[in-house]
Amino acid sequence: MRGPTARWSGGVIALHWLSAAWLALVFALGLAATTADLDAARKFDLYQTHKALGWLTLVLLAARLAARAAGAPPPPAPSWSRATRWSSRFVHAALYALLAAIPLIGWLRVSSAIVPIPVSLFGLATIPDIAPIDGDFSEGMAFAHKLGAWALAALVTLHVAAALKHQFADRDAIFYRMWPRSGGPTS
């Protein structure tokens, strides 16, 4: 129909799905670190792995934004209503905002924590702190980090639900724009 412009670039698609899997892992690690009944050593390792992979989501996000900026995004489908366009735009903007804010807030939480345990990239590098030690501020950041993570989980649910609606209810094949293999009427 629209040829290559109707799909996201290979780089954007690859980074999107890598990001999805990565975030699911980081979310699961964070949830386990804060709620699982484990001994101190296992809990420490879970926190440190969550912190390392979580910090790396910032790198992943930068790569995604670069890949996205490198090519023109596919245009909205002609069948979309104004409301659909705006809600799509809003949800995507909110997703990107949370993808940037949550790890940054986590980084602030770790940096300002009374217990000084910096982010370590698996012993290869230590990420510097970006805030002075402040217990109340750190606890506030921890709350915001958790709130942001659940907001992101809710938005991702909405994002997936919308993709499924487009695929199975609207049958507009929008889903294939982000699928590794092309298909459907727009391919």
Binding site: D39, A40, V115
Partner: protein, 199 residues
């Protein structure tokens, strides 16, 4: 200081126990250093230097130090002249996670690079009752030396074997280890257990 003869009298045994407990607690596991003069010998496989630290919102951290050595002199005629020294290698901390160990070795906690050793030197030995001894000495941690009293429980296991358990509570803040307080408790509970064999 005199030699440390094997004695069968209960009084002498009690003092011997005091000394052995201290030595057992901090014996060199790798060499199995025993009491001087061969009177008693530490069982390195049954020697354990453990510690416990509490924190808010985090499980109780339990760990141990794996490298240590001790020296012991006993004067049965003048128990107060008995002497115990021991040294624990800060670097040998083990809490069951290499990443956690590295953090505890780091500058915020044990600062093992600047202060490789934790050192104890006895200044007084007092018998509390037939099975308990108070061992007082100076503990040097992070370059700060402060008095510390270790409570030692002694148990005869039968034959020529003795079991010892020593307890001490260390206020880490008084040694300048302030990181993480008050989320991480100021008290560190130290428990040293060991067994010694006669002959």
């Amino acid at each position: 200081m005199t030699a440390c003869p094997i004695s069968t009298s209960p009084r002498a045994a009690a003092w011997l126990v005091a000394a052995v407990v201290s030595a057992a607690a901090f014996a060199d596991r790798s060499s199995g250093a025993a009491l001087e003069h061969g009177a008693w010998r530490i069982d390195p496989a049954r020697t354990h230097i453990g510690f416990v630290v509490d924190a808010v919102g985090f499980p109780r951290t339990k760990g141990e130090f794996r490298v240590f050595n001790g020296r012991l002199s006993i004067d049965l005629d003048r128990p107060a002249a008995s002497r115990v020294t021991f040294t624990v290698s800060s670097d040998s901390i083990d809490v069951g996670s290499s990443s956690f160990d590295d953090t505890l070795r780091g500058p915020n906690f044990l600062d093992a690079q600047r202060f490789p050793d934790i050192h104890f030197e006895s200044t007084q030995v007092e018998k509390r009752d037939e099975s308990t001894i108070d061992l007082t000495g100076d503990l040097t941690l992070l370059g700060v030396t402060r008095p510390l009293t270790v409570e030692v429980e002694v148990k005869r296991l039968g034959g020529a074997r003795l079991a010892f358990v020593a307890h001490a509570r260390i206020d880490r803040l008084s040694y300048g280890m302030n990181s993480g307080f008050p989320i991480i408790s100021r008290d560190v509970d130290l428990t040293v257990s060991s067994e010694a064999l006669a002959g």
